[in-house]
Subunit: 143 residues, 4 copies
């Protein structure tokens, strides 16, 4: 069986689609979406993917006193996006283990892939302010 190409979710992974409309504030004087704005689109998709899998991230922080801050990001900007574009942010979990939770992304405008990315999160205990093993609630949601 050929290996799954990067940024293509395998059949066993749930690919989640989150739609965003590019806003005026997301653009810069180059006439395209500023590179930092995509992190916003991807954060939003991440929260919705979690909700879709039964994890309310707001309650996760409040009740479990844990958070999943971003530890590493990698983004490739392949095609520029513009004001008022309707983008589909495909998001799935590429890796989950004790140490990390990696969300993989493919952003499309129609059939064209504009952006691919991997956003790796750690798990921290908000009261002790230190890194802990990935919360079991998240492991159950994605394994």
């Amino acid at each position: 069986m050929p290996p799954t190409p990067p940024n293509s979710p395998s059949s066993s992974e749930a690919r989640f689609e989150h739609r965003v409309r590019v806003q005026y504030v997301d653009t810069d004087q180059g006439g395209v979406v500023h590179h930092a704005a995509y992190l916003r689109f991807m954060e939003q998709a991440r929260v919705e993917l979690l909700r879709h899998r039964g994890v309310d991230y707001r309650l996760f922080e409040i009740e479990r006193r844990r958070a999943i801050p971003v530890a590493e990001i990698r983004v490739r900007y392949q095609l520029p996006c513009r004001f008022d574009d309707e983008l589909v942010v495909e998001c799935w979990v590429g890796v989950i283990n004790r140490a990390k939770l990696r969300f993989d992304y493919r952003i499309r405008r129609g059939d064209a892939v504009t952006t691919t990315a991997e956003i790796t999160c750690a798990c921290v205990d908000l009261d002790r302010e230190r890194i802990v093993s990935m919360d079991p609630l998240l492991r159950e949601a994605f394994e």
Copy 2:
């Protein structure tokens, strides 16, 4: 004696000057600075004015468990600003009393006034999550 015109600090008020350089991310596809970016410039000037008057706002929140969230803003955009412009954000306290602390602003590029604003803050108790009288530390700093 004629009244002090709005957005001109009277002689008894300390006018503070904070310099900012417009960044690329602050612009939008209209080729000018996005209107929301000015709130960032003004927040920065506010924190520096407080420091100049002896109030470390970071410690203010930590030690006194109080914050001064924005309750009302009014901004008039008179001239557009552009990428890499060097702006002078003039900031002074226009009103301070038990109920509020109003920071007044005049943003200049060279001699030209580009923007004027009033940002009114309330005082909240972070533990009780409710509005309280303006913290005496702030009243002493500006009266």
Copy 3:
């Protein structure tokens, strides 16, 4: 007939409702939505209100070579909003004449009004880079 109270659209005005979900990036260390984030929510609602009235703002800039930059803003923050809140941004045109187009706002979370605002736009000619009379297309859309 009693006058329409401020920030209540009169019966002849079309009140438009745009829904937004507060994102993590919109919050600050005070645990609430940063005051600048509301300008983003309102800009988004403005673009959708225009679309609802038949004006595609992206094409408006491209085809008519005109823009409606923000000339003045006034926002009153009445209740704090938080991460993951679902907000309803009510938006309507409060004033339109040759000189300006004023969008009025009332942001609600459920039945509670959290924020009210007026955002006044001018009309500029993008090629000549100067203020012009309000574009007839906009006047027709809202009169």
Copy 4:
């Protein structure tokens, strides 16, 4: 001679230091700097490094009708930063050739490295809206 470790500028490279003060708006409800804010700090450092090497990026876009949009980013968040932290953004050119210009970063708070990153830019012709060879002005500035 041992190889230069990643994110350590070799002696032949000019390491540029740009200082930033973390603003309130850069924080999120986790009480730390939001991951997207670092892209802002790094963009600012990039523009100042260019200026230091004799390239005024504003004029570069206007006179040469070229831009260097971000094509790929990689950021590792090692330690959280907080409101009012004074950060030193070390920036140098790690790679420059016909195809790309890679800016490397190490962000420090005092002696502690908080963040490392590589931001790769392409060169585009603004009138033809297509990727071109890296502008000779930039190659001369960094070779």
